[in-house]
């Protein structure tokens, strides 16, 4: 089991840092290009949600990204914020639902994360924050 924890400011430009770091950390597992794109997308969506919805785009908060993997290539990622929390998780998970349509959001973030992961959970408490827990089994490296 290997693990890394990152904490970074809730600034948009850190989304790219977070997804590239995640891929660099997982490189010993030799993920396929497709797996890498899927992991990058999951991290990007979760960090975007933390910044945009968790913190209402306040750039001075902290987002936490934890990534680990076991000997079988099962990857666990937890992306958390200590922001607003989600009032209705079921509604937030609906494809095309967005609470920020005025910002040209598509409402597809949750659906994309769900599609690209093997297990996907959202744990949220109002005014305390949200954690997204993702598990993804990588193909065995040859």
């Amino acid at each position: 089991m290997n693990k890394v924890t990152l904490k970074f400011k809730s600034r948009m430009e850190n989304e790219s840092f977070a997804r590239i770091t995640a891929c660099a950390f997982l490189s010993p597992l030799n993920p396929t290009i497709e797996e890498m794109m899927e992991i990058k997308t999951i991290v990007s969506e979760a960090v975007t949600n933390a910044i945009l919805h968790g913190y209402d785009s306040n750039p001075n908060k902290l987002v936490k990204l934890e990534i680990g993997y076991d000997d079988n290539g099962c990857v666990t990622m937890i992306i958390s914020d200590s922001g607003n929390g989600i009032e209705d998780i079921r509604q937030a998970m609906e494809p095309l639902y967005t609470s920020k349509a005025e910002l040209e959001r598509s409402g597809m973030g949750m659906t994309i994360m769900q599609t690209f992961s093997d297990s996907f959970d959202v744990i949220s408490r109002l005014k305390e924050g949200t954690s997204v827990v993702v598990q993804k089994q990588l193909q065995k490296s040859k």
């Binding site: 790219s16 990007s44 945009l52 598509s106």
Partner: protein
Amino acid sequence: MRVEKKKDVLTFYLNEDVDDYQISLIKEECIRLIDSVHPAKVILDFTDVSFVDSTGIGFVLARYKQCASNQCELVLRGLNQHHRVIFAMSGLFHLIKEEACL
């Protein structure tokens, strides 16, 4: 982002990452140009885009709506498999055509 205007076609050559941050840098310029140039057709070229997430879907759909209200056609060009997978999830190919690269 490079922008090209040929006859009545406006082409936006998008950069490497189509994510929250990069879109925040180019969105206003795209909106302004579409409204001021009044093209008959807008092309969003993804040839150089290596990453796209749901922010990209939101951006494409918003430009589609903007173009539709300007009686202008919007097409996507230079998509790779990853872009298609992301865009297809939202159903946007029911509204927006993909054009082959020249």
